[in-house]
Structure formats: C-alpha cells, structure tokens
Symmetry: none
Subunit: 209 residues, 4 copies
C-alpha cells in the first residue's frame, strides 16, 4: 500500500511536470511565448496556477526547461548523426536535413527557441541552446577539415552561420500562424545543400582577399 501510493505519487508528479511542459510546449508552438502566460499554461494543463509553481520556480524557469527539453531531443538526434558513419559532408547534410525536416513536419516549436523573445533569462538560455546546436556542426566541421574534406575556416563562425542559415530559412515557413510550405522536400534539400556548399572548397576560390 505504502509502496503503491509512493509509486502512484511519483508517477503523478512526473505526469504533472510533463503535463505542464507539454502544455507550455503546445502554447508556445501555437502562439509563441507571448501566448504562454502562466494562467494559460495552467488552463491548458488542466490545473491551477499554483501547481505550476510547485514544479517550476518561475515562468522563466519553465520556459527555459521547455526550450532545453526540446533542444535536448534535437541534440540527441544531431549528435547521433554527427558521430555516425559517413563522410563529414554526408553527415553535415544529414544533420541539417534531419533538423529542418522535423521542424517543418512537427509542431513548430522551433520558432520559439529560434526567433522569439522573452524575459532576459530566457534569452540567455536561448543563446546557450543555439550554441549547443552550433557545437554539433563545429564537431563535424573539425573532422571534415582534418580529413581534408573542407578547407580551413573559422569553425565558430561557420557553425553559427549554419545554425542561422537553416533557422532563417525555416522561420518564415514555421512562424506561428505562418503559411505552410508547399514543396517541403525541395526546401529541405535546398537548405541542406546550401550548408554543405558553405563549408566546402569552391571550384575557383572567390577572387576576394
């Protein structure tokens, strides 16, 4: 009995936390941070506002966790690709392709940690999250450069550029209430190609510098 109650409790706790996170995720995906006030999140999660504060110290904390959780999933997948088989080029292509495809297909939560503002703490967390995304690409780049697949370059800048490139190309299409893309596959390929080219040696290096 004691055991079962304890088990139930833990399950319930977990489920509440999850429900809150899911509710926040849903609201953010639909209308951005702006639409995700505590009261709205509570309503969406089917509980009282007080409950939110049992699980999260503040609104900012909740949002940071939503963002972190969302990106954690992405990072897992991207890291899987980055550390997987294939040439650096292939893996870079696959990574960008994978991210953009999920962003276009699933709930457009991407928008939230990519293009929207919020409290300062959340903004700071957002920057960190993007840096983590960048690190995945940086790792691939490093290997590619070592292997001679890519020319020498400022890996930090390139990584940031990659993140920015596919992000921007997605923002329009996935912005809250934004229009759906017709030819998703084509877009996904275009973005991925862009990123791979961007870090590869061009036929005749630009006459600049």
């Amino acid at each position: 009995m004691a055991y079962r109650r304890s088990a139930l409790m833990e399950e319930r706790l977990a489920s509440n936390r999850e429900r809150i996170l899911a509710a926040a995720r849903r609201l953010i995906a639909e209308g951005g941070y702006r639409e995700a006030q505590i009261a709205a999140v509570a309503a969406e999660a089917g509980m009282s506002t007080g409950m939110i504060y049992r699980y999260f110290r503040s609104k900012a904390d909740l949002f940071i966790e939503v963002m972190t959780a969302a990106i954690a999933r992405e990072l897992e997948i991207l890291n899987g690709i980055a550390k997987g088989p294939g040439t650096a080029k292939e893996r870079l292509y696959a990574a960008v392709e994978s991210f953009t495809r999920r962003a276009l297909t699933g709930p457009n939560l991407a928008y939230a940690f990519i293009a929207e503002p919020a409290e300062p703490e959340v903004d700071i967390a957002r920057i960190r999250v993007r840096q983590k995304l960048g690190n995945v690409f940086k790792a691939i780049l490093k290997e590619g450069i070592t292997a001679g697949e890519f020319p020498a370059q400022d890996m930090d800048a390139s990584a940031a550029c990659i993140v920015g490139a596919y992000t921007e190309a997605l923002v329009g299409p996935i912005a809250p209430k934004g229009q759906r893309v017709k030819d998703q596959e084509r877009l996904i390929q275009s973005i991925s190609d862009f990123c791979v080219r961007a870090v590869s040696q061009p036929i005749n290096p630009s006459g600049k510098r």
Copy 2:
C-alpha cells in the same frame, strides 16, 4: 501668415516625427525593445507621450517604422553594391561584408530587428524586412547564376539562408550588453567567405547520400 504658420507646422511635424524615430532608435539600440517604453521614448525625444500618438497610431507602429527606416538605409547601401560593378561573387561578398561591418561597428540596432521579440505586428514586420534583405541577395544570385558564376539553386532558400547565416553569426556579438568581439575583421571575413562559398559550385559536388 496662415500659410507660413502652416509651413512651420509641417516642418515641426516632420521634425517631431524624426525626433521620435531617432529617440526610439537610440533606446532600442541601447537596451532593446524591452527598454523602449513609450514613456522612455517620449522623454528621450524631449516631448510628451501624447505627442507620440499624434504621429504613430501605436507602439507597434512606431517600432515597425523604426525597423523599416533602419533597414531602408541598409537596403539602399546593399542595393548600391548589388547594382554596382564587379562579379556576382565580388558583390555578394561586398554586400555581406558591408552589412556585418556596420552591424558590428555602429550601434547594435541590428539586434532589435534581427533577434528580439516584440508584439505580433512587429514580428510580422520583422519577417518582411528580412525578406527584403533577402531580395537583395536573391538579385545578386540570379545574375550570378545567369553568368555561370553560381550553380543552379533555389534562390529563395539561398537568400534566406544568407540572411540567417550572417544574422546568427552576429547575434551573439551584438546582443545588448553582449561581449565585444576581439577580432572583428576576422569575423567579418569569415562570415562573408561562408556566404560566398555557400552559393558557389564546390570542387566536387557534395556526394550527398
């Protein structure tokens, strides 16, 4: 007399409008949208809050115009480069270089219409503004493709990617109160190189898949 007063009035109106825009621009550059409350803008412009509403229907309207005006200047410069002499590659490089240099050097207004959130209307305007930036690059791309400098590609996607790439690479460095970049020149070149490579034909076409 009546005529002259009227003229004076118009001049005053124009000057007031400018003062408001300038004040808003300054505040946004310093502290982002969050710091640019109507009362603060009014104080910075040396007038009353009521005056703001004589010239702008709402806070969102004002911010949209600040953004539009700021980007109008950028567009002018970028268009000058795009329509100027040189190969498409050279012009693309010069365009990105020019934008990033000004963003890093001048007041970091760029941050505001690049990375920060605001009211929905402002967000929508921000997307439009970025599309306009993209159009400049699209024009260069088109010429470059026609001239055989660049391979065939989805110009819309590439243009968006370019905007996103340099934007992202800038956001960290130019965020309000963000740390200054040590080697700005190096960063500017890295970003510009990235963008040029991204639309150019790589030595051996990416062996994707």
Copy 3:
C-alpha cells in the same frame, strides 16, 4: 497661461500625493497595515492603483512615508517641548503628556508605527522612527542628569523604556477595536507621572545591587 497651468499642475501633484498619504493614513488608522492594500488605498483616495505608483515606488515606500510623516509631526512638537523652557522634569512630563494626549484624541495612527507589523522594510523604518522618538527623551535626560535633576543612568535604555512605557499604556486603549477610555486625563497624567518618576532619584534607593 503656462504659469497658471504649471501652478495648477504642481498643486495637483501635491494634492495627489497628499491624498494618497491621507488615504493610507486613514486606512491604517482604521484597520492597520493589513487593511491598507494598494487597491484599497487607491479607492480611498479616489484614484486608480497606477497613480499610487506614480508617487511611490512601492507599497513599502508609501507606508514608510506615512509613518515618517506622522512621526515627523510628533517629533517637531516633542522637540519644541524638549528645547523649550522649564526644568528637565517639567519638559519630560510635558513631552509625554503631549504625545499621549494627541494619541488618545486624534486618529489612532499611533498604533501603526507602534505595534503592528508589515514588510521587513517597513519594520526597519518603524524601529528607526521609534529611536528618533527616544532621542528626544534622551536629550532631555542628558540635560536633567547634568543639571542634577536626574540620577546617572543608562540614557539609551531609559529613553527606550519611556517610549515603550507610554506606547504600551496606549496600545490597549487605542488598539483597533479596543475599549474607550473613560478618564483620558487621568490616564495621561498617570503615564506622564510614571515616566518622570522612572528617571528620577527615589527617596531611598532600591536595596538592589
């Protein structure tokens, strides 16, 4: 015109500030700090809650000012007595008498800065305020000791004791919902006598110590 408006404005400002303070004073006198929520103060003052924040940074600030203002008046009067003519004994008696009489006669605001709790900041201010009251008595004591009217004693302790003595003797009668005092004059005299005796040389010093 400009002058008159400016004059009107200042007058209005002053009157608003006063109205807020008066409203807070009234509510505190009636029901203590507990009853003086910002919304209630605003309603009592016939204005919106926002107005309160135009004149006071926070609720605590407002309360501190109510307390300070109330005590400032008292201090003025008490200091007038302390620095006036008469022996130290006479002045001490007069000071206590004056304070207690006003406390019993006027609105029982005394209760608020004497016996009730509030936010930490207000509590700190309350202690300061009471110390200021004590300082008045300390000054009289000092002169009385020098003049040989009073025996040597710990003036800080005696001053605090005086403040506490008449305060406590008042709190019962003036505490919210407290019973009315029949013979106010008698009480005033008893308290004043108590305080004067307390710092005077007794006929045969207590056999203690």
Copy 4:
C-alpha cells in the same frame, strides 16, 4: 488491543500537538511570523500540512497557542517571584530582571508576541497576553502601595507602562537578525532599575506644572 491502540493514539496526538507547537515556536523565534508558514511548520515538525489542521483550526489558532504557551511559562515564573519573599521593590526588580534576562538569553520568541504583526486574531491575543503580564506587576504594585513602599498611583497604567518599558528596551536588541547587545547585564539592570524607580516615590515629588 483496542484500548492500547487508543492510548497510543492519544499519546501520539499529544506528542504531535507538542511537536507542532515546538516547531512553530522554533520558526517564529528564528524568523518571526513571516517565516512561519504552515508548510514550513509542518516540515519542521516532520509531518504533513494536513496534520496541522487536525490539531489546530487555523494558522491563527496555532500562533495564538504558541504565544499563550510561551507566556504561560513566563507567567509561572513571574508569579513565583511575585508571590515569593522579599519587599515589593525587590520582587518587582527581580521580576523584570528575570523576564528580560530570559528574553535576551534564550531564543528571541519574545519578539513575536511583543512587536510583530500577524492576523487580527493573533493581534488580539497578543494584547491579552500582555495584559496578563501586566497583572503580575499590578499585584506586586498593590502590595507595595499597601505596604507604603510605593506611592499611590494608577496601577493599571503603571503595570502597562512597566510591560511597555522593558518590551521596548528589548525589541531592538532581540529583533530577528538584530544586532546582539554587548553588555547584556548592564542593560538588564538598567531596565529593572528604571521600572522600580518608575513606581517609587521620588525624592522631591515631581514639580509638574
């Protein structure tokens, strides 16, 4: 079996009640009423919040009982002194000395029922508690006046003044997080002397007015 369980239950009930009271006392002594939320009391007592409500109708009830219990101990001691041997003067001195010493030495629970605010019901209870304290001194006074040790005086007022005097002189020193008094012994003596003098016949009756 049923009997024994019942006995155990009662014991447990009593012990629970005590544990709650002790926990509340500890928290109040440390941080005042403000820090003694029901949840905190429950945690400190090692039980659930629900348990608190099995033993106390409300938070106010609990606090009133904490106060009453604490003062009951004081009253016992003070009454012991009041009814003990010695002159009225000696007993008055001893009573004040005893109270102030414990207040300064032990956990500063005194602060809570002396100077801090709380719910209206608690405030009312606090006044009652202080009146009870006053009654002890009133009893001593009565005997002293009858014995000719003290002059005729309003015993109610004097008793209240005594309670107020040492209370106020203590509040600063014992306020939560307040600074420690350096020379406690000196302070205790000063306060006690003050109170004894206050009810004694001065050398030359105050030439008031």
